[in-house]
Symmetry: D2
Subunit: 342 residues, 4 copies
């Protein structure tokens, strides 16, 4: 094993998931693990499913601890990654699973995050046009948000082919792990089981400008996004239901052809056969993306639906996929397209 | 107790729910219960939660069995209600929880249901403009579909106030009881737990024309509906996320005022205080509807969200509410606005 | 309405459930509602399912606020009820849903709760031999723990009839609401969905001595209880699987007869017909108890299983049932045996 | 890749899980896949999570189709494996995931299965004393039942060390996938979500004699088992809560030492540190077993709890582990101890 990897923020769900994947990655050796309030504790009590690491002790998140690795994964609250990355130096690959380096527009960043913009790093969604090339040999990677991953992969082929008007309407359901391990009343099991509810309605969710950035770049014109996230009674998974008015003259064949072309050679994105629709269970724990698309002739809209595992392809799997590209490893090393179902 | 009620189709989820409500209705006495393949069985094994009726035997669904009641609730597969109703005579109140008499447009009916149109009955969604008056003294009631109930109550105030363009985009999540007790592989617990998936995508769901009918009538112009239903890992509940472009010049105050006015005097529909959003758990087992609305200034859309219990307000509660109106009883008799939560 | 009721601790699950029941109780008017850290907040944000009380403001839990009611329900952390009750005076009915006054043995109390024993009040499980009479006219009621309710009703008929050896083995599964609204990592939705886990294994759960007290009193000899609670991925419900060696010569008919006799006249406990087994969904939101029993001839054990809703019959429903008896109202006033299922 | 594997019964949950594992096994190539009523269909619609096999067509289950493989996994209804195995010849490794060859006692078999006993094959639970050696080089393997796997691993160390009386009491909760894909009303999502219920109570479950066989062999005397399975609202996982009276003089240290010794060198069974208890989520999708044990001094019982994934270690993982041993591969090839959590 040649690649030594450290994980900062190893006690949360994103940190746990990247460790789960790294433990199965044939080229990676797991190095330092750090935490904040949990520093000093063993991982066994915090991530009981990561049996091989049960005895490992979390260290504090400092440059000293993280130094000396080939790759450092950051699973930190937004606003903290820049300082850590700076201290690590330019020869270390830093993969940020947080939001800090995703947005190009400083005004967007400041409006949605309320703090100074740290910059922009190569964007870890290789399926987007041009993104894969930018990741090759990169030393910094900004992993996309989980919702922008699901939404961009559902809709970009329609925009790339010029088939959709630039006003997208998106409703997505997410498993509760997307909200992290924060102890908030509405995340208690008693509250979420048997219940669906929306949040961040009306344009306020921080992932909205990231979706607009991705779709607008592909469309070659600004794309407005109406995004409503909902919390679903499941631990993992995102189902994104996305639509936009079809451009005049668009046929069902045009739509099918656009998606077939976009995903013909992608190892992780699967355009389903006609008549079958994505289900989050099918991609549970895997880096696969299921996509399906239809043209609603009556409503005049392209309807695209994608399913991902928010923690895998939506966070840690996308991070490992990007690491593989950055390091010149085969892109699917240590990653699976096989869901754990039922 | 003066009102004797029969239920045809008492072994399914809609039949069970109307019985649950009728058992708590102070003016109703439960009469004949019928089934099809389950005729001859006791209800105890089919609806184990209906303890007071455990010993009742299901009879076959015939006019003889259903005769002699003041009200007959029909929970039958579509296409069967007309023949039963005809035999019952005009002095019996027939409340159809199926689809047969909801649509006014025969062409719509035939396109979506593939059989001859049976007609149109007074529509059991009293909150819609004009609907309550049409139910008073009625002898026939068509209970709305569960999705059209949720969607119409989420969006009609915007259309009634002329604030929304006539192209609605709707994504709704439903609990599995909406699909009934049919034994289909995708409804197995192993398949639905931990999974979200769409179905009937692209305009094919049978509830779509019913939504268009309701919203178009309120808007005074045809309203196109793009409707995507999704199956959620919960037994009950519908969360409908609905949006439409705001008409030019619409302000957040306009939107708030329209909804406040629409629901000021409705006993079952609760416009939530600003900042709080509906959750299906809050209306579990109750006839209440939670509604919230926002104006997304960036996307230029009105976003309205409603939560109902698909079996209660979405089916059997709406049926009992309509029966109360038809019989001249206080509208909320035997109905609750208190959810069983958590 | 003649009976004015106050609820101390109205923001938690037990407090919310007693309010849900009191709102449907024809003889009760809801008076003061109190909270601790939530005092000053409206109930709408804390208990969004209690629509009719949405605007009510929580007051601090003081004797002044609670004075002037006919009944005061206490849903407080253990150790706090005695002081409150003392200040309320002897003419007010105080129904304690906490643990303080359940145990008769001071040593048991001190061993399991680590504080001085406050005393013993009439025990709110009227189905136990002698318990109903003690509740009539009572001014103080100790509502049983949720697990002891389920376990005592499953096993006492076997002990009352002298059919079981005095060593009971109990494994119970509970919904997460049994753990309350405390913000603990293991109660997050992400952790509980899809998972079963035990806790308090090895005799440490505080409900153990209460079960031994109940069963021992019925058996006329000390009964040892091995109790293992498990947390199940559901919000409500307890399924208690209980067994004990059958006394020599016990037949299946003896067992059946004992349970038939014990529950012949009980309004809330339903011995199921042979061949059917309890399910927590069947009693969801109701005060009903489902019980079934079998004799395992090979293992030589009586196996009794009960299902309750932990918040209803297990807490707030038992409290209201006891209040009804104490006040001389019909025992089932405001209580239902009909579950909200599916 | 040297080992060619066929799977008979590839459309069910056991067949799907063994395929999921074989796809990740570095030494195995997936050969023929067969089905019964699904023969002729592609796997994509039946097992949508097995993306790499989506286009594979199920063939009928015949000796011709299954011939020419190094290993054949059988996931067939009981009673069908003997005929298939006979036709395959003695040089093919046949791993039966069904019940046919688990029991040694013909009378037990006939009493619980109602058909002639087919025989006994080497038993695929290598952690049991002597079992691993019997699997080395074997050409026939009987994979244990999912419950016997969980129960035997929870209890055998206590019996092996002579610390427990020969009357075990077991209550286990299982995810619904344990019941397979059969279309039965009680397995519908609407019925299982939010509900716990027992089945096969009173000694009737077919896995009971298998537990007695395993524990009795270790104890050196017959062990009586009282076994109550319960259905939990989750797709995967078994939590087995097992207990037996401690033999006189047994100390907590004795118990701890027995379990520490039993599992010191086992790659898949993890005795948790004191104070932590198993959770099924921690082993989701993995071949790991979590075990914990306590001595309840008051009740005088040893309480042992285990968590497994019923489809992985409980069925297909145990099958692959046994295959590895039989073929002389490292025992953990293609198997993981890392759960997919949360």
């Amino acid at each position: 094993m040649a690649v030594r990897a450290a994980v900062a923020g190893a006690s949360g769900y994103a940190g746990g998931e990247v460790l789960r994947l790294l433990l199965g990655h044939p080229e990676v050796e797991v190095g330092a693990l750090t935490g904040h309030s949990n520093a000093g504790q063993t991982l066994g009590g915090l991530q009981p499913h990561l049996v091989p690491l049960a005895g490992r002790v979390l260290e504090p998140t400092t440059a000293e601890v993280l130094a000396g690795h080939d790759v450092v994964f950051l699973a930190l609250p937004h606003g903290q990654s820049a300082a850590v990355a700076e201290q690590l130096g330019d020869d270390v690959l830093v993969v940020d699973m947080g939001a800090d380096f995703r947005l190009k527009d400083s005004a967007d960043w400041e409006r949605f995050y309320g703090s100074p913009h740290a910059g922009t790093w190569p964007y870890g969604l290789p399926e987007l046009p041009g993104a894969r090339a930018a990741l090759e040999g990169a030393k910094r990677v900004a992993v996309p948000g989980c919702y922008p991953t699901a939404v961009s992969l559902a809709l970009f082929p329609a925009y790339a082919a010029g088939l959709a008007e630039p006003e997208a309407v998106i409703v997505a359901a997410t498993g509760t792990s997307g909200a992290g391990k924060a102890l908030k009343p509405h995340l208690l099991g008693s509250e979420v089981m048997g219940s669906m509810s929306p949040y961040g309605v009306g344009g306020g969710h921080r992932h909205t400008p990231e979706m607009m950035q991705n779709l607008g770049a592909v469309a070659g014109e600004p794309v407005t996004v109406s995004f409503t996230p909902t919390l679903a009674p499941m631990a993992r998974g995102i189902l994104a239901t996305c639509s936009a008015r079809a451009k005049p003259g668009t046929t069902a064949e045009d739509v099918r052809a656009a998606y077939t072309k976009a995903y013909a050679d992608e190892p992780f994105v699967h355009l389903l056969p006609e008549g079958r629709w994505p289900a989050t269970a099918s991609v549970h724990g895997s880096n696969a993306v299921q996509v399906q698309v239809a043209l609603d002739a009556t409503a005049g809209r392209v309807i695209a639906v994608s399913a991902i595992d928010n923690l895998t392809k939506g966070t840690a799997g996308g991070a490992v996929q990007s690491m593989n590209i950055a390091l010149g490893l085969p892109e699917d090393t240590g990653l699976s397209t096989i869901g754990v179902a039922p």
